[in-house]
Amino acid sequence: MSDRLPGFSTLAVHAGAQPDPTTGARATPIYQTTSFVFNDADHAASLFGLQAFGNIYTRIGNPTNAVLEERVAALEGGTAALAVASGHAAQVVVLQQLLQPGDEFIAARKLYGGSINQFTHAFKSFGWNVVWADPDDIASFERAVTPRTKAIFIESIANPAGSITDIEAISTVARKAGVPLIVDNTLASPYLIRPIDHGADIVVHSLTKFLGGHGNSLGGIIVDAGTFDWSTGGKYPMLSEPRPEYHGIRLQETFGNFAFAIACRVLGLRDLGPALSPFNAFMILTGIETLPLRMQKHCDNAKAIAEFLAGHPAVASVSYAGLANDKYNQLARKYAPKGAGAVFTFSLKGGYDAGVSLVSKLQLFSHLANVGDTRSLVIHPASTTHSQLDDAAKIKSGAGPDVVRLSIGIEDKEDLIADLEQALGA
């Protein structure tokens, strides 16, 4: 037994999975069952008390989902993970462990429009107050810190314009404030960026995007970096105080550096209920096996298409961090040297009408509200994903009326360029 270290692609195929003990099945079986039989009353009590390893009920854990969890934890370099029904569910479950009503969290202004809505409206109704900061101005995060701040939330590669966030600089602010840094790593995937290596304490994903990668299954995941000390000052009672739900155990004391993932499972998922279907977990696991191959192709295609658009007379500007003259190119070289992702925006000289016309003429690009599919996708954020924001907020989040967002797939890039050319040309 040597401690030789396998690479990312080996982990993408193997981590968390082993042949099924009962049947020898090599692919991870879909354990499509709600519940698991106990050995006896003592075994049942031990499982319910979090004292023994084993399965109870699929809302709390499932063997197919567990393989997915360990695999993503391994790819991100975390101590443990919890899979849930969607990326949005991951965000609710994470913040439920950290915030009490009346508390605050600081969030980067450049986020997926759905997250902006969730934070602004749904979370406000729970008494969790979002305070916005500008990821291009690190000092704005420092200024936003108050005694009620419990977390900082950013995206590694930010939707919709593919801008790159300076994770290390913001992690320094978080450490100084004594709060965890949560990084949504959906658009990068761990193949491009591993936020934990740059100071993140918690990583969340919409598995629906590049990790699953085929546009067929929703899912979300929470990865615990194992880096944050939850015990200080009673600031995070879900982790540091005796839990009445579990005979007074303290999660940090009992589970050490994966206590946050356990809290998300036994206090979040168990009680809020957004469990991931084992079938979806299986589909996403299959997708992850080819993540390194797909992600590189996504990035290589995206760079070629961004370069084509930057040289096209109908295009006013392209926002892609992989372009040498882009505002975020330095950060892209530092954080994502293999590629700057495959989601970016551009604006048309013809404004809103030209955007609508482009979308209607494209033949290969699909007009829909998702990213990170094998297929190339196009959307006009101002009228869709970011439509609930007011005009000023749209522009601040990079989704002005003239902006078109692309998610580049893994087709042949020549065909994608030809499609854009015909749609822009006429």
Partner: protein, 194 residues
């Protein structure tokens, strides 16, 4: 030994070789971590001895409590200390007075006393600090994977279905890409600050 980050082979070697474990601070209260760590290690085949002067005369899962390490009266391979950091040194001193010496002194999750570790190591005893043997056994066997924990191991071998009382193989390949270097760094920073 670098006590900020243990190689898997070090932990694996300890858990594969020790047979008897005296647990100092074992609790008969079935919701305390020491109780269920004791129970798990007993189920996995270790010869467990509960040490707690407050419970002499009682039993823990059929094993009689003893008041101190001296009272065990036979050689023991490992001492697992379920006390917080400020109570470690006297236990290590007591262990160093045993004949024969134990092979391993293990301090539980959250417990760390570098001076005590140095003393024990000077006497040739292997030391583990701020870890739980139940978690490490579960991790190296991958039994812990059911709760989404990164076992940091890989295997293409078909495992046996675990049953009560079965010893599990800990000899899976350890991995690096999924390592917890970040949390080890954080633990180190914390211990330096403290």
């Amino acid at each position: 030994m670098n006590h900020d980050a243990y190689p898997d082979n070090y932990i694996r070697g300890i858990l594969n070789s020790v047979k008897s474990i005296a647990m100092v601070g074992a609790s008969p209260v079935n919701v305390r971590p020491s109780y269920f760590a004791f129970k798990y290690l007993a189920q996995r085949g270790y010869d467990m001895i509960p040490v707690n002067p407050g419970h002499v005369g009682k039993e823990l899962l059929g094993k009689p409590f003893v008041a101190s390490l001296r009272d065990i009266g036979r050689p023991i391979d490992m001492i697992d200390i379920f006390r917080n950091s400020s109570h470690i040194m006297p236990v290590v001193e007591e262990a160093l007075a045993l004949d024969p010496l134990p092979k391993v002194i293990w301090m539980q999750l959250g417990a760390r006393d570098d001076a005590a570790a140095e003393k024990a190591e000077a006497a040739g005893i292997k030391v583990v600090m701020n870890r739980c043997p139940k978690i490490e056994y579960g991790r190296l066997s991958s039994e812990i994977s059911w709760m989404g924990v990164n076992s940091r191991t890989l295997s293409s071998k078909r495992p046996p279905a675990p049953t009560q009382g079965m010893r599990l193989s800990l000899n899976r390949m350890s991995v690096g890409g999924g390592d917890t270097a970040a949390s080890d760094r954080a633990a180190k920073n914390k211990s330096e600050q403290g």
